[in-house]
């Protein structure tokens, strides 16, 4: 009998299997560390210490997690409508343009709490615009969203490079970046949050966009599971033919889902651009869009799962930095190795252990 159709309890599906996959990914990463000639256990303890050891480290971890929550939500919203958006990277890049333009034009005149809502809208709007053409190509012309979003990642990268090198650059400066935003264009740090827990944030750039990210998690949950639009999106995702039979307009839902996805990706830019560096820089997204794929997969496309997965990847990024600082033999790119393995085992090989677990479970139940 095939094991694919045997139902498993939730604690196995959402608990045991992801954890098992994660453990395998970490075991292989440990093997790579051992291959280089360092102790995997030391590396693991450095990873934990470097990401959660004190308030500043936690601040950095949550700062990375903030970006990953946004991109994770972006990927998840599209997946619920049956669309694989790997363009979050590019959409976030354009989102950066949106919030930078808002910050550049408002920061002289108003305080941050006036700039922030406008910047959120600007970032979301630009991200949605970036997703518009791939969405239209998918909905109207039937071209594969995966291919078009890959193409758009590169088109957008070229466009943004051009804008930063030729248009937005500060005259007379070499670095392709905008001027530094004034106070009115910077998001405040969450120093008070850390003080509640009795630690100090230090130099960590954790800022108010973390709160925005958490709010967006709730909004996405509402949208997907509590609204008519969310229901239509999920129906389309599960079965396009059933959706069309039920009179759900394919074209409209695809466009809306992709533009919402792009908007969420665009909002990610608030965190690095207005929260951390206070200027728009070349390549500021730095792969966070792709991490979003892993985060969404690990979090089973559910906002709550996405928060946990984003924090896990935040730990990897911040802890990985610390490892490369303490163990010069291991470069920062070790993060990419672990990330690749996590995506492979938690994503593509998701069901590798399922047949074996089903058999064990059935034996266990019979006994």
């Amino acid at each position: 009998m095939s094991t694919a159709s045997v139902p498993l309890p939730n604690w196995i599906n959402y608990g045991l299997i992801p954890v098992l996959n994660l453990i395998v990914a970490f075991l292989i990463s440990g093997f790579v560390v051992w291959l280089i000639g360092e102790s995997p256990l030391d590396a693991l303890s450095l990873l934990i210490e470097g990401s959660l050891g004190n308030g500043e480290f936690i601040g950095f971890t949550l700062f990375y997690a903030t970006s990953f929550i946004f991109t994770g939500l972006s990927v998840a919203v599209a997946i619920h409508a049956g669309l694989f958006n790997i363009g979050s990277e590019g959409q976030a890049y354009v989102g950066g343009l949106g919030c930078a333009l808002v910050a550049l034009s408002l920061d002289k005149y108003v305080p941050w709490y006036v700039t922030m809502p406008v910047a959120v809208v600007g970032a979301a709007l630009f991200g949605a615009i970036a997703a518009f053409i791939p969405a239209w190509l998918q909905a109207k012309r039937g071209s594969h969203i995966v291919i078009t979003t890959i193409m758009f990642n590169y088109i957008i990268a070229s466009l943004m490079n051009y804008l930063l090198v030729h248009v937005l650059i500060v005259p007379g400066k070499m670095a392709p970046e905008t001027r530094t935003f004034l106070e009115g264009g910077q998001l405040p740090k969450l120093t008070w949050l850390m003080e509640i827990f009795g630690t100090k944030l230090g130099a960590a750039p954790l800022n108010i966009s973390f709160i925005i990210a958490l709010v967006m998690c709730y909004v996405v949950w509402l949208l997907i599971w509590r609204t008519k639009l969310g229901f239509e999106m999920r129906t389309l995702g599960v079965s396009p033919t059933a959706a069309s039979y039920a009179g759900i307009p394919y074209m409209r839902i695809v466009m809306i889902a992709m533009m919402l996805s792009g908007a969420l990706a665009g909002m990610m830019a608030l965190n690095p651009v207005m929260g951390a560096s206070a200027r728009l820089q070349v390549g500021f997204v730095g792969g966070a869009g792709f991490v979003g794929i892993a985060v969404s997969l690990m979090g089973r496309n559910h906002p709550l799962g996405i928060i946990f997965a984003a924090i896990l990847f935040g730990i990897l990024y911040q802890g990985g930095d610390w490892i490369s600082f303490e163990m010069p033999n291991i470069t920062r790119e070790m993060i990419l190795v672990i990330q690749g393995l996590v995506i492979l085992f938690a994503g593509a090989l998701e069901y590798m252990f399922r047949p074996a677990i089903v058999r064990l479970y059935q034996q266990f139940k019979r006994a």
């Binding site: 790579v32 890959i150 466009l159 291991i330 470069t331 790119e333 990419l336 492979l344």
Partner: protein
């Protein structure tokens, strides 16, 4: 420099820049025609470049380097196959995973083994594929028009370049004139029918991804030990994705794949040439325009403005026997 000389030099660098694209796009062709999407082309190319550079450095043999590149790339293909054929995982996710893993591991191991910031040591000439001077190239060099064309474009390339151009008709022959090719194309369109005929869908798809692995291995090897003399971190620099674009642009057909790759290679060569030069009437064209052009062209094609690109019907869908 007169115009003809400029033309020749752009043509020569077009060839050089197209070779990795041709190998990689043909790799994608085998995989995608069998119904396995391959986003991991980029990673496979980068991984095999690293393996080829390491082995060529250790053994001083370009051919062993090529072997290592191919073995590395085939191994990655098998991982992709294991995930997407045996475990019916998501093919896109598997490809993304391979790209991440390779982007990291090449630098981590490169730094740990050689300590040059992710580079491998410079290779001596005998560990590389040297240019081959075709007979008569020197004699004919001074003949107008044909001379420079023969001496600088057709002659003076390394063996992998000639192999790439041979791989195109060979791929066509395999895909369209052999039983294996017919079945491979069938399994990408309608795996159920192939299964009904008593042919193993899984084994056929495994062979297809292995073909892709071999071709990607050539691409990576070319980058590391024919075009350059070392592995440089992230040296594939998105070429895997351009190859993917070329594959779509060529509508999943072998000979158009070659022309699409030559076109995209030409755009790359033109971008290098045009840097800092101005065009009459238009002025200086930003280099980013040329960088984005392959992707824009592909999107325009996908929008249906230049014919229709129909992907293999069963592409990206794992095959389940029992339902």
């Amino acid at each position: 420099m007169d115009y003809y000389e400029i033309f020749i030099s752009i043509l020569a660098s077009t060839i050089r820049l197209s070779i990795p694209l041709i190998f990689t796009a043909l790799a994608g062709l085998f995989s995608e025609r069998a119904g396995i999407f391959d986003i991991g082309l980029e990673g496979k190319m980068l991984g095999s470049a690293f393996a080829a550079a390491c082995v060529a450095y250790l053994t001083d043999s370009a051919w062993l380097g090529l072997g290592a590149g191919v073995v590395c790339s085939v191994a990655l293909s098998l991982v992709h196959g294991f995930a997407s054929i045996t475990n019916r995982g998501n093919q896109i996710v598997s490809g993304v995973a391979i790209n991440f893993f390779i982007a990291g591991i090449t630098i981590v191991l490169g730094q740990a083994w050689f300590g040059q910031g992710g580079r491998t040591p410079q290779l001596p000439p005998e560990a590389r594929f040297a240019p081959i001077i075709l007979p008569g190239a020197d004699a004919i060099h001074d003949v107008p028009i044909i001379g420079p064309l023969y001496a600088n474009v057709i002659s003076g390339n390394n063996i992998l370049t000639y192999l790439a151009f041979l791989a195109v008709p060979f791929s066509w022959w395999v895909l369209y004139r052999t039983r294996f090719g017919l079945r491979l194309r069938a399994v990408g369109e309608n795996p159920g029918a192939v299964d009904t005929a008593g042919i193993s869908v899984a084994w056929l798809r495994y062979r297809a991804v292995m073909c892709a692995g071999i071709l990607c291995g050539f691409a990576g090897t070319y980058l590391a030990i024919a075009q350059s003399a070392a592995f440089i971190k992230d040296m594939s620099a998105g070429k895997g994705y351009i190859a993917l674009a070329a594959l779509v642009f060529a509508k999943w057909k072998p000979v158009p794949v070659m022309f699409a790759c030559l076109l995209f290679g030409f755009l790359d060569a033109l971008a290098n040439f045009m840097q800092g030069k101005s065009v009459p009437l238009i002025g200086e064209v930003p280099v980013q325009v040329f960088q984005a052009l392959p992707y824009i062209l592909t999107c325009v094609l996908l929008a249906g403005f230049i014919g229709v690109a129909i992907p293999p019907k069963a592409g990206g869908v794992p095959y389940t026997k029992e339902r």
